[in-house]
Structures are given as C-alpha cells and as structure tokens.
C-alpha cells in the first residue's frame, strides 16, 4: 500500500512537472476505440485532468466508423478532434499528407529510445514520428496445451504451416465441436486479410513487385490460399466466413479451438479466467512460417496522433506524452494489475519483473514484435512498408476486395484460382487508376 502511494504521488508530481509548461484549462476532444486498454486510459485520464487543469471529451467509436469519421474531419480540416486514435497503417499515410503534427518533440524525459524500434519505424514517415504508440501487437499461435499433451504432440518454437495442418488434422473432432484450425474468414482488409497477408508472406509471396505490379496470381499466393481454403474447410469451425477476431476469440475462449493464429494482445484475455474457460490450458508459440519467416507475424500499433487542424496542440501533446509514457505503464500496472499494462510499445515494460511475472506470454510477444520488421516484410524485395497491409491509401479498398474474393472461395462460390484471377484484375485496375507505378 505504502509503495502504491509513493508511486501515485511521484507520478502525480511527474504529471504536474511535465505539464506546467503547457497551457491550462482547455477542453480537448479525443476520439478512440472501445478496446480494453483504451477503457483503462479513459478511467485513469482524470489524473491527468486534475494535474493539468485541462478537460477531455471522449468520443468512442467502432474502429471502421472512427476511421471514416476521422478521415472526413481531417481531410476537410473540420477541426473536431484534438487527439485521435489511429493504427500503424494510417500514421505514415496521414503524416505524408501533413494531416498530423510530428510528435518527436515531447522532451528528453519521454525516452524515445525506450520505444521498440519496429514500432517507432511503423509510425514514422521520412524519419519523422507522426503518432506515439499506445499499445502494439504482432500475431502468434495460441494452442491448447492439454489437447497437444493428450495427442502426444510437442509444439515447436517456430512451427511451419505444414506442421500446423498436420496437428489440425489430429486435433479436429467435429463430434465434440472441437476444431484444429480456427482462423479469420470474415472478409475485410483488417479481418481475413490480416491473417492471410502474413501467411502469404510466409509462403514467399508479396502484394506487389518492385514495379508496383500486383502479384496475386503467382505460385506463393496460389499455394497459400489453397492451403487456407483446404484447412479451413476440413479443420475449421462451420460458417467460418462470418468469423473475425472476436468470433474466433469467443470460440477459443469457450474451448472449441485447438489452434488459433491471431493478435498477441488477445493473450491477456485468454489468460483471464473471467473471460476464458481455457485460461490454464493455453500456451503460445510464434506465428507459423513456411518458406520464410519474414513477415509471418503481423504488426499493428494503436497510437495517438494529433491532427494538424487542432488549435490546442500543446495540451494535446501533454496528454499523448502522459498516456504513452513509461510512468503511465507503471500507473496501469499498479491500478489495474500488471497483466493489463499496455503491451508491445516500450522495452522497459518487458524488463519489468512484475510484468514478466504477471504476463507469462511476455517474452513470446516481445520477440514477435521485435521481429516484425515492416521494412522487410517479404522474402523478395518490395517497394512498400507494412506486413499485413501495404501503407498506401488505396490498400483499404484493395485489401477488402481481395478479402471478399477469398471469402467467396472459402464459401465454395468460386475456385481459389478464379478468386485470385478476379482479385488480380481488380487490383491492377485500382493501381492503374491511382497512377502506379509512381
């Protein structure tokens, strides 16, 4: 208790110290998503408000609504938001458009060197940081240790997709509603393509060659998507084309899945007995690889950015500095428990023995994020950055269109070859309209 008081007092002092330089008594509007880490931030934010005399207006929206809302406002310079929650996909694109203020001037005490380099790179454009990471994630493989033990299988540290298929066959028992291969099937660039993109990378594929020509009908894409469709049909849950992250998470948490490759940030929930029936039966390993491990695990960082249209830049910077600092991580650890500390952004979080104790998955998560190199996402060279996405504005449309074709193949409405052929044509058309190669 005594220790907690000291931490609280010192963090309050630190807030006051760092914020005095900034203007006081302003009301900031912050747009964010309804994720657990953001809810904790919302709960703790009054501490910052008290220390600075500023006030926060929270606008919480669903991810896609937020993206549309924020894009409309920023592109038209509506000036409705002072701080917005964005992903690593938007940060470099919006930074390039000068829609965001650079945030590399938060002061020496912010300790930029502590931010994991792959995370910093993902949020930068031309060496300038355009958003500060709130929490970051990669993907890895969740598996049911009890089922693996029963079947006498030992999960390797770096499994291949061939091995995953072999284990899925052994661990699927449809009579018990137990499925070996639970992956995303719901179409969308942030849904099924978030899984399929890294899988294609692992099979040696890429979205575009160095001349920005789409590569969707090449052998690696065919192999990867055929593998995906075959295994999802044979060892996946029924109605998989409706399953996104949340649906699979519910299936895994209720004991219906033997393996699930998805966000490292879900580990905290799967380990939480209140939300999961398999909390004590789950183990983790790296995302599967195949011909390469480059880009086999995705990368995403929920971050805080400041629109260039804000009139309260100083106060906004004060808040984003507070919410993404080392001290904030400690505050969450003390107030909400160390397992809830925002993961994936700072090296110091992973050096902290209390976090290591509370989060047994910490090392695998850290390794996955450190190794998720956005600048070298594929076996062959590419002109873009991004692992499960390509950081160009056209990708949202392209990714979703390709995702729909692959979902159609999964549902049996077309063959994999037809789906990829159609996807290739529509991608070529979009890229041509957008003026590529540039």
């Amino acid at each position: 208790m005594h220790l907690r008081k000291i931490v609280l007092l010192s963090s309050a002092g630190w807030i006051a110290g760092t914020s005095l330089a900034f203007s006081q008594g302003q009301t900031l509007t912050i747009a964010t998503v309804n994720n657990a880490d953001m809810i904790i931030m919302q709960r703790l934010a009054p501490k910052w408000e008290q220390a600075t005399g500023n006030k926060l207006n929270w606008v919480v929206l669903e991810e896609n609504v937020l993206r549309q809302r924020a894009t409309t406002d920023i592109a038209t310079k509506g000036g409705q938001f002072d701080i917005i929650t964005i992903g690593s996909y938007e940060a470099p694109i919006w930074g390039k458009q000068n829609w965001l203020l650079p945030v590399d001037d938060l002061g020496a005490d912010y300790d930029y060197a502590d931010i994991i380099p792959s995370v910093r790179n993902g949020l930068s454009f031309n060496g300038k940081l355009y958003a500060v990471p709130f929490y970051a994630e990669s993907s890895f493989t969740f598996y049911r240790k009890d089922l693996f033990d029963q079947a006498g299988i030992k999960m390797p540290d770096k499994p291949t997709y061939d091995q995953i298929a072999e284990y899925a066959a052994k661990l699927t028992d449809k009579s018990k509603e137990q499925y070996g291969f639970c992956q995303r099937g719901k179409p969308g660039w942030g849904e099924n393509m978030a899984f399929i993109g890294p899988m294609v990378n692992a099979f040696g594929g890429r979205w575009f060659n160095e001349k920005w020509e789409p590569q969707l009908t090449t052998e690696p894409w065919k192999n990867a998507v055929n593998y995906y469709v075959k295994n999802m049909r044979e060892y996946g849950p029924p109605g998989a084309t409706a399953n996104g992250h949340n649906e699979n998470r519910a299936l895994f948490a209720t004991g219906h899945c033997a393996m699930w490759v998805d966000a490292t940030s879900a580990a905290g929930y799967i380990y939480n007995p209140k939300e999961s029936q398999v909390a004590d039966k789950t183990a983790f390993t790296a995302a599967p690889m195949q011909v390469t491990s480059n880009g086999s695990g995705w990368f995403w960082a929920w971050s805080l950015g400041i629109p260039a249209s804000t009139k309260k830049a100083d106060a906004a910077k004060s808040f984003v500095k507070w919410a993404t600092s080392k001290e904030y991580v400690t505050l969450v650890g003390n107030e909400a428990g160390w397992v809830a500390a925002p993961p994936g952004t700072r090296k110091s979080t992973y050096d902290n023995p209390e976090y290591q104790k509370a989060a047994p998955f910490a090392k695998v998560v850290y390794d996955s994020i450190v190794n998720a190199d956005l600048t070298k996402p594929t076996k062959d060279p590419v002109p873009y950055i991004g692992i499960q996405y390509v950081a160009i504005p056209e990708f949202q449309g392209i990714g979703t269109a390709v995702g729909q074709q692959i979902a159609a193949a999964l549902a049996g409405q077309s063959t994999v070859e037809q789906a990829l052929e159609t996807a290739q044509r529509s991608t070529e058309r979009t890229m041509k309209q957008a003026g590529y190669p540039k």
């Binding site: 998503v33 309804n34 994720n35 919302q42 207006n57 929206l61 949340n246 998470r249 948490a253 939300e275």
Partner: protein, 273 residues
C-alpha cells in the same frame, strides 16, 4: 371443428408466429444484456442463466446516458415539428390545388430518398464546417428535417386526400380564409394521420445513425453514437452492447407502446369509406 373457428385459429397462430418472429431479436437483446460476456457468446446459446446487472452498471459508469437521451429527444422532436410545419402547407396545396406536375413533383421528392446518404457526406460536412453546425443540435435537426420531409409530405398528402373537399368548401362558403380552413377544419379532421406521421418521423430520427455518427462528436451526440461506442474491434462486447441498446430503445419503445392506438388509427385512417 367448425371451418370458421378453424380458420380463426390458424389466423391467430400465424399472427402470434409473426409477432414472435418480429419481437425475437428485441427479446434476445434484452436477455443478453443480463448475461456475462462469456455467456453472451456461448454456443449453444444459453436461455437459462443467473442474471447480472453488471453490464448496466458498466454502461452507466462509462457514458452519460441522460446527456445522449436528452439529445435524442430534442433532435427527434425538433426535426419532426419543423418537418410537419413545412409539410402541412405543401401537402395542403398538393392535395387540394393540384397542378399539372404535382404527381411528378411528389415522385421527385420521394426519389431523393433513393440516394445513398454517403454520396453527399463531404458537401454536407463542408457546409456544416463553414456554418459552425458540426456537433450542434440545430445542425442535426436541419438534416433530419430535410431527410424526413419527403416521407412526411407524402403521408400528409395521402391523409389530406381522404378529407372530403366539400367540407373545406363549405367552410370557405362560410367565409373561412385559407389559414382558418387549414387550422380549424383540415387539421382537426386529419389529426390521427398527422399524429401517426409525426410518430413515424420521430422513430426514424431516433434510429438514424449515419448522420449522427458523422456530424456529431460529443455535445450533440444522440443515443445512436452512445450505442456505437460499445462496439469493439477487439474483445467481447455483446452483453454490454445489448445493455446499451436496451436502454437506448427503451424510451421510444415505451412512447410507441403508449401511442399505438393513435398509430394504428392513423395508419388505417380512411381505409374504409
């Protein structure tokens, strides 16, 4: 069994089935709001469980429900009043003094409803930005008024058509001016129709999500944005979302239930002569 009784029985069963089918999603939503998040996504779905108020408590803690509900109420009623105020003279003129192009005009008005709203998002957003209407109640009232105007005019037009011309003419013979004619004869005669039109307009405003999500942030945000804030890209949220939805639809549900007699009377107004 007498064939007539059997026919009645079949009709009753079909009626109950249809009602059950329509009501089921609402029933399931209310039920889910009392479950824990894990129970809410359990397969097979659970019908019996220990109910919890946890979701309602969380929803209450995380957002100021009264603020959103008040906005919904003011915006829906405001837009409906304004739309009715504009639509009554328009429908009166079209019903009693039709020109050559009245039918075309009515069809054209309705055709504006066929355009997807997102098509005009940017122009409207720019207009709102320049007039300082973003995140204001009056801004949303204007948009909702324009959005519902074609339907309100159409409905009032059909209701006014049912009023016998002779009654209005008799009034005119007695020296009533157009304003008095509308106010003292037409409106009282078609009150059930006007009431059901207004009710429909309020419900449409209450449920509208596209414009409210895009044109408000916090000050003028109605209940649709309140509900949207409980959906999440990562994490289980169905139980909390159901609790938020239940309290969001509760006022309009109670309002609709209380005025159902008026609504049914209005909708069947003039159906039998």
């Amino acid at each position: 069994m007498h064939p007539k009784t059997r026919g009645k029985l079949v009709l009753t069963v079909v009626g109950w089935l249809a009602a059950g089918l329509i009501f089921f999603p609402i029933f399931w939503m209310v039920l889910t709001s009392f479950k824990t998040e894990v129970e809410a996504v359990a397969t097979p779905p659970k019908l019996f469980f220990t109910p919890t108020l946890e979701n309602y408590i969380t929803v209450r803690e995380r957002a100021d429900y009264v603020h959103f509900a008040l906005n919904s109420m003011i915006i829906s009623v405001g837009a409906t009043l304004l739309a009715t105020l504009i639509a009554v003279p328009a429908a009166y003129a079209m019903a009693f003094f039709p020109g050559k192009r009245t039918k075309d005009l009515l069809l054209w008005m309705l055709s504006t409803k066929m355009m997807p709203a997102v098509g005009v998002l940017i122009p409207i957003y720019l207009l709102f930005r320049d007039t300082g209407a973003i995140d204001t109640r009056w801004g949303l009232i204007v948009v909702y008024t324009l959005m519902n105007l074609p339907i309100v005019v159409w409905m009032l037009y059909t209701f006014f058509k049912e009023v016998p011309k002779d009654i209005l003419e008799a009034g005119r013979m007695d020296g009533a001016k157009p304003k008095q004619e509308v106010w003292m004869l037409l409106l009282p005669l078609s009150l059930p129709g006007i009431a059901s039109t207004a009710l429909l307009s309020i419900i449409l405003c209450w449920n509208e999500a596209f414009w409210s999500l895009n044109l408000t942030t916090s000050e003028a945000a109605p209940l649709t944005t309140f509900i949207a804030s409980f959906s999440a890209p990562e994490g289980l949220f169905w139980a909390k979302l159901s609790a938020a939805s239940t309290i969001a639809i509760a006022p309009i549900l109670v309002f609709g239930w209380m005025s159902q007699r008026q609504l049914v009377r209005g909708l069947t107004f003039g159906a039998v002569k």
